[in-house]
Symmetry: C2
Subunit: 309 residues, 2 copies
């Protein structure tokens, strides 16, 4: 049990992330009281049965006297939700989120966040393909990276607030890093957003071929396709918002991906086995680095660059 | 323990598939004697220590008096290997393979296969991203589909030979299906070949960005990217051969994939959230079908088509 960092936290949105957060705090500490809210009535009702916290019918009521408020909703809803609660946020409270895109999230929240509140956007690199309050579990954040993108703030008390939030997440088992929001969005575009887009797309392509091939696409999915369907079963609303709000980084990364794919396509068309072999071998090298991460990422990266063929 | 179907089998190539086959036969039966061969000296030496069979230094010697010969090598090597053993194959023996592309495999093997041998090409929809003799295990084929693509042969005894081979694979736990080789190649292009190509490609794109982003691509790989690196760590030689020998079906499928991706790209660029949401929801539907397969694939397919949005 970690020390109590906050007397009271409010969790707004009790999907996979919010529900896991409530359970993690009960399991590992970090706060005494938990206030919960969700815009969806059924989710509130499930939260009341499933989670050990007080459920409110209004977001503004839920955040009253909370030391820290966690917005666990899709990125596109952050601005509106911040507006809804802005007049109820306590002086010196921390406002944070778990959104997958940080530049837009920061801007939207900052616009509605009162000056007397410490806004510290955040993003746990944790999740599963499941969604909703029943999908949550206490160990979701354990050993996972948690990225905070603090504002360049000169406010008194801001640095101390960041330290408290770091200690809170570390208490739940996370490894916390800080970086600039635009850098976060660029890195996540390749490590998370593009993989999801590609997975959605390949499943969609297969779907259209399914009727042509008479059920056999599903039947023989063990050949590699099944892994993609898992990723592609993630929450559609959340992912729609990710692509709408991280547009530039995703389009840039997608452009590179398509160029590289065109080169492979050309190698296949012209029977250039050497080029295919070289690319596949190179891809295999990065796998080794990923398996061995994160114990000593920096060293692995150096090894990786040494693998250049 | 299943009944003994063959007195002696020869397994040529002791990588993941060949090594698993040898172990499966020892665990579940199907043959009394196992003869083993691999072109690679080190693989032969490992096979000698690891597998319960007699290891030969020449493929031709290994197949002598074998009732069934299993070619467990990359598709591109099938023709040459068949030529190497053709004069040593016993009258009435079965010659089969485990190659991922069946049209080209059938043609290459048929060209060198003597008339007195029953050629029955095959492909187990089973595997892992690991390769080499030490990666094999006895249960690889359990509950997995095994596709046979018998020739349109009028030879006496051919139908009986197919039945024996079906019984052999079923004895190892596989579920056997028969289909035409071109259909196999079209179905596998979308369920296996394209997913691997895409995984190799995204890992390659990430590799090039890795140096730009200073190690952070590997560090934050849990966001989705890690799943792709697993697929992309499969054997480069095997996959080079797949793309060289199933060129037309892969290019056709890749063309569809790229069109669909262009549509998603356009939706992102123009902020068409409705289109993104619709596609992501559709992709989620196919996941359900895949999870529930294969208990009653046909019914699921009907449900799936009912999901049309």
């Amino acid at each position: 049990m970690t020390q109590t960092i906050f007397d009271r936290i409010a969790i707004l949105g009790v999907g996979l992330l919010g529900s896991s957060l409530a359970q993690a705090v009960r399991a590992y500490g970090g706060a005494k009281d938990i206030h919960l809210f969700d815009a969806d009535k059924e989710a509130r009702s499930i939260a009341g049965r499933l989670l050990d916290g007080r459920v409110f019918d209004s977001a503004a009521d839920a955040v009253e006297n909370a030391d820290a408020v966690f917005l666990c909703v899709p990125v596109g809803a952050l601005g509106l939700l911040t507006r809804d609660i802005s007049s109820s946020l306590a002086h010196g409270a921390i406002l944070t989120d778990v959104g997958s895109v940080k530049q837009k999230a920061s801007e939207d929240m900052a616009e509605a966040c009162p000056d007397h509140v410490h806004l510290i956007p955040g993003h746990p690199i944790a999740g599963t393909e499941k969604s909703g309050p029943t999908a949550g579990f206490a160990d979701l954040f354990k050993e996972a990276w948690h990225i905070l993108t603090p504002l360049p703030s000169g406010e008194p008390g801001y640095a101390a607030a960041v330290e408290r939030l770091v200690a809170f997440w570390e208490g739940l088992g996370a490894r916390v890093e800080q970086m600039a929001p635009d850098r976060h969005d660029r890195v996540l575009a390749i490590t998370s957003h593009l993989p999801h887009l590609i997975a959605y797309n390949i499943v969609s392509t297969a779907y259209d071929m399914e009727s042509v091939e008479d059920g056999e696409v599903v039947k023989y999915s063990a050949g590699g396709f099944r892994d993609f369907t898992r990723i592609a079963s993630s929450d559609p609303t959340m992912w729609r918002d990710v692509f709408l709000t991280n547009r530039d980084a995703v389009l840039e990364t997608l452009g590179r991906f398509s160029e590289d794919l065109a080169a492979l396509q050309r190698a296949i068309r012209w029977g250039d086995g050497d080029a295919l072999f070289r690319e596949f071998t190179r891809a295999r090298g990065i796998r080794q680095a990923v398996i061995e991460a994160p114990d000593d990422v920096r060293d692995l990266r150096l090894e990786l660059l040494g693998l250049e063929l």
